[in-house]
């Protein structure tokens, strides 16, 4: 058979076209298969979840109730040292807002407030995490995938709010009661508040909000009729370290 250069080029062209189409067809065939993963119907959705802390309603009793609700639900151990694990904790005003305080705020400076992860709009912890164990969900929650955490603690260095804790020990040594609904962590894993993402997915509010007797408000920041937005319209509020540009989503109503 006589083969011309023209014929060879034409065949090469067809072959290249075939090779470029075939993988995409194979991919389409796989995608056309049954979809097996679904989201629950009662799952709450938002563009950006946010919390407002009504500091006028915060009493020691309420704060302790919130902390207890959070820590028992998530199996957070209580370790009596600087290696304690913190998801939700008490911090005085002067530590939270040292850059927004002044000497005449003497009555305010020592007032205890609740502190937690700010679920920033522009979270530094997500940027520095080398394994993408910390990531931001589409609904604005900065979540941790404990399975992926390698314990490098870059996120702890990145977080300007001290919201992350490192497990220096096996936390089960310090837990008297385990809640089987939520896993514990292991030694060498970083952890933090997750805005109860697993509860939102089941249609429930975060545990601390439910226990707070109205001192904590939770809602979608992009929804102008939500509890949080209404409170922010009516009251003066502060966020922690606004100058850093992380965009915290925990507001303190003063």
């Amino acid at each position: 058979m006589k083969s011309s250069r023209r014929k060879f080029i034409r065949m090469a062209g067809f072959a290249a076209l075939g090779w470029s189409i075939c993988p995409s067809l194979a991919g389409a065939a796989v995608e056309a298969g049954p979809k097996l993963y679904f989201k629950g119907e009662e799952q709450l959705s938002a563009t950006q979840w946010a919390m407002a802390v009504d500091t006028k309603k915060l009493t020691r009793q309420v704060m302790n109730k919130c902390i207890e609700a959070c820590h028992t639900l998530h199996n957070v151990p209580e370790i009596d040292s600087n290696q304690n694990i913190k998801w939700l904790w008490i911090e005085p005003f002067r530590n939270l807002f040292y850059d927004q305080s002044h000497p005449n705020l003497t009555d305010m400076a020592n007032k205890p407030f609740l502190a937690l992860c700010n679920h920033c709009e522009n979270p530094p912890c997500v940027r520095v995490c080398p394994t993408k164990a910390t990531f931001k969900r589409p609904d604005g929650i900065v979540l941790m995938d404990f399975h992926r955490c390698i314990g490098c603690r870059f996120c702890m260095a990145g977080c300007p709010y001290g919201s992350r804790s490192f497990n220096f020990f096996d936390p089960r040594r310090y837990l008297e009661q385990l809640d089987p609904e939520y896993p514990t962590r292991t030694k060498g894993v970083v952890e933090k508040c997750e805005f109860c993402a697993h509860r939102l997915d089941k249609g429930q509010m975060p545990a601390c909000v439910e226990a707070s007797e109205g001192a904590l408000l939770f809602g979608d920041l992009s929804d102008s009729s939500s509890d949080v937005r209404r409170a922010l319209r009516e009251r003066y509020s502060l966020v922690r370290k606004p100058k850093l540009g992380t965009g915290p989503n925990v507001y303190y109503l003063i």
């Binding site: 629950g40 995938d145 385990l178 896993p183």
Partner: protein, 127 residues
């Protein structure tokens, strides 16, 4: 053959070493599949037994990523079309509620040591 006095003993030694596992184990009991305690009140798992036996580890890996990272909470069974929550402790361990008599027997027999239970809390077994 050149150097036959070295090559042939060398080949014999090589053959003996290579087949060591076979003749060392002659006479010892054959491997038998461990007997598992299956849940009594359930006929099938989320998928068929053969599928679960072969794929449960990759299925659990995919579930964990789908649940934690992408927010998918429900799994539809290819076998029955029924929906199941994607949860190790709530779905799997709800039926297989005795880790020692189900998970551990196979894992111990094939020397696999999954680290699931370092974090996830094992059920307390049937009372």
């Amino acid at each position: 053959m050149y150097h036959a006095n070295k090559i042939i003993p060398g080949l014999v030694i090589f053959g003996l070493l290579m087949t060591f596992p076979f003749w060392f184990n002659i006479g010892s009991a054959a491997y038998s599949t461990p007997e598992l305690v299956l849940p009594e009140d359930h006929e099938f798992c989320v998928e068929s037994v053969e599928y679960m036996r072969a794929e449960h580890m990759s299925m659990l890996n995919e579930w964990r990523d789908a649940y934690v990272r992408d927010g998918y909470g429900e799994y539809q069974s290819m076998l029955t079309g029924q929906m199941y929550p994607m949860s190790l402790t709530k779905t799997c361990m709800n039926c297989h509620n005795n880790k020692e008599e189900f998970c551990d027997r196979c894992h111990a027999s094939v020397s696999v040591d999954p680290y699931c239970w370092d974090c996830h809390i094992e059920p307390q077994g049937v009372e």
